[in-house]
């Protein structure tokens, strides 16, 4: 049941994002690009930081 609710919530978010994307993509394509781009830049940068921790741990294990 909990999984189902979570699934539905995520589905809803996905639908909202897609609809927003279609609307914004039409009238405000560059604003939309900013939104997507910023989220991407922040997440990739954050993931890069986390990856460094993994690399360090591996190096410590190896050495």
């Amino acid at each position: 049941m909990k999984t189902l609710i979570q699934f539905l919530i995520y589905l809803l978010i996905a639908v909202v994002v897609i609809v927003l994307g279609i609307i914004l993509g039409d009238a405000a394509s560059w604003y939309f690009a900013w939104l997507v781009g910023t989220v991407m830049i922040v997440l990739i940068s954050a993931a890069g930081g986390a990856l460094l921790d993994t690399q360090e741990e591996e190096k410590n294990k190896a050495g």
Partner: protein, 535 residues
């Protein structure tokens, strides 16, 4: 009667205060999102080092932020104090984004920045993370509305002149905020801020690594900044091209000046890599050209003609002649708003009203009906902005952008191999890269705003008419005041920045949860203090 010296001084004052304000804004735009990224890692992995990072860079963020807020106040005042005709002429449209900026963005940014600095002990991890994101979002939304307003000056969409109220009025709000110029400009500027922050963080981190200080913090900061920066730089360049394309369609005179194109050349036209433009002779003394490149670069086609400066000037002369009756009709309508004949005359010439205003400056008694052909020729010449200045500032901006891209690609390569700390030559260069994005941002502003001349609102309102009718003495007084105050400000800010960068992050290896920025401690009630120690 407006004094030319006063207009000149008002322009200098506005440019100086805007460029100065723009020294602090880009870092705020970018660093706020970098803080959010760092804190995201802290909240998801729970590793304390990321909290130290957020706090340390947050402290530098706040030193910069204070000056951004302070100098931003000046900008809000200056439209009214120095550009009063402009303000009442387009306030109906231009004021709205500024007011919405306050409502939607600035309130959010400023309220939450207090909680970001002071709320470390008072908020849960998740709450604090949301607060940090809201600060970042708020500051960038703030930029959004300012650039919507600026987009209107560059390409006035969604408005028309109302002869009853003698000003421009809003006709279509959606056209105003979704103007392509505003959109491309916002994304270009906001992401330029990301690049600025990335170079700032990377440069300082490299400086630490070079000295073997704060290595763990520096390595992680550098990694995040490099990735943040490389993506952002790519984005800035893409959007720069888009802005050139959009702006080129809207403002042919700016485009022609940026490329120093005096004559319309058959497509595909050659591209001037470097040139020495002479405004008086209307030609390039010398030019280094690449054939065929200009047309695809600017129009994204091979066949579309790009109009040259001489052609634009000739068209302007025609439009000035056509605009004169519009101004004459307006004068009648001003005292007799229902005069049908004047209204019909106005309607017939409405689209060239701005050009009619342009010649008012040279006509005897500033009465356009007395304008001679020589006056019209002078006004037509005015429609061409300063070619050499725009051509070169544009090239400097582009060159700096490409240098930053190369720098970040190298940075990413080194950091992903996790051996940037051993590339000493690169670490030595990195701190020297810090001024580069600031310079690029300033030149970008210059290209955009010098290229808009002689208009404050493109083809609608000339700059010379927009200024307030002050005396020279007033202008000297205000300019002196700004120079004195702003010199002290920058000295104090740089001093504190350098001091806190040298001091580096506080490291508490045995008490990792100590607060390092803000004054959360000052607020922590006993219960919270206890909890902090349990951490």
């Amino acid at each position: 009667m407006i004094n030319d010296t006063v207009v000149e001084l008002s322009r200098w004052q506005f440019a100086a205060t805007a460029l100065y304000h723009f020294l602090f804004v880009p870092l705020t735009l970018g660093l706020s999102f970098m803080l959010a990224a760092m804190e995201t890692v802290y909240v998801t992995t729970g590793k304390k080092i990321y909290r130290d990072m957020t706090m340390f860079w947050g402290k530098l963020f706040l030193i910069n932020f204070a000056l951004g807020v302070a100098t931003g106040l000046t900008m809000e005042f200056e439209f009214g104090t120095n550009w009063s005709f402009y303000s009442s002429f387009v306030g109906d449209i231009f004021g709205a984004p500024l007011a919405i900026e306050g409502l939607m963005a600035f309130f959010m940014e400023s309220t939450f920045v207090g909680l970001m600095a002071f709320g470390w002990q008072r908020l849960s991890k998740g709450q604090h993370l949301i607060v940090t994101y809201l600060v970042a979002l708020g500051s960038n939304l703030s930029a959004l509305w300012i650039l919507v307003a600026n987009g209107f000056m560059q390409d006035p969409q969604g408005a028309s002149f109302n002869p009853v109220t003698m000003r421009m009025e809003l006709t279509n709000f959606a056209a105003l905020i979704f103007s392509h110029d505003a959109q491309a400009k916002f994304v270009h500027t906001s992401i330029a801020g990301y690049v600025t922050a990335a170079i700032f963080v990377a440069g300082i981190s490299a400086w630490y690594m070079l000295r073997g200080k704060h290595i763990e913090l520096a390595k992680r900061s550098f990694r995040m900044a490099a990735l943040f920066g490389v993506l952002a730089t790519a984005g800035v360049i893409t959007l720069g091209d888009a802005l050139g394309f959009v702006g080129g369609n809207a403002q042919p005179s700016k485009l022609a000046a940026m490329e120093a194109m005096w004559q319309t050349e058959p497509a595909p036209a050659p591209f001037n890599v470097a040139a020495w433009p002479s405004q008086s002779e209307q030609r390039n003394t010398w030019a280094l050209q690449i054939p065929y490149v200009l047309t695809p670069l600017l129009t994204h086609t091979l066949t579309k003609e790009v109009p040259g400066i001489q052609e634009i000037e000739a068209q302007a002369a025609q439009r000035i002649k056509n605009g004169i009756p519009a101004v004459e009709a307006l004068k009648v309508l001003s005292s007799d708003p229902t005069n049908a004949q004047a209204l019909a005359q106005f309607k017939a010439h409405e689209k060239d009203l701005g050009y009619g205003f342009l010649v008012k400056r040279y006509a005897a008694n500033q009465d356009v009906s007395l304008a001679t052909d020589a006056d019209i020729a002078k006004a037509a010449k005015d429609t061409i902005p300063e070619v050499a200045a725009i051509f070169w500032t544009f090239r400097i901006m582009v060159a700096l952008g490409l240098i930053m891209l190369a720098y970040f690609i190298l940075a990413v390569i080194y950091t992903l191999r996790n051996n940037v700390q051993n590339q000493r030559w690169f670490l030595k260069i990195a701190p020297w890269m810090i001024p580069v994005p600031f310079l690029a941002c300033e030149t970008g502003w210059l290209v955009a705003e010098l290229g808009r001349q002689p208009w404050t609102v493109y083809e609608m309102l000339p700059t010379w008419m927009s200024a307030s009718s002050h005396s020279v003495g007033y202008m000297v007084f205000s300019l002196t005041g700004f120079v004195l105050l702003y010199s002290v400000f920058i000295a104090v800010e740089m001093y504190l920045m350098v001091k806190f960068i040298r001091q580096g992050p506080d490291e508490h290896p045995h008490a990792p949860a100590q607060p390092q920025t803000g004054s959360g401690g000052a607020y922590a009630p006993a219960g919270v203090m206890m909890k902090r120690e349990e951490n």
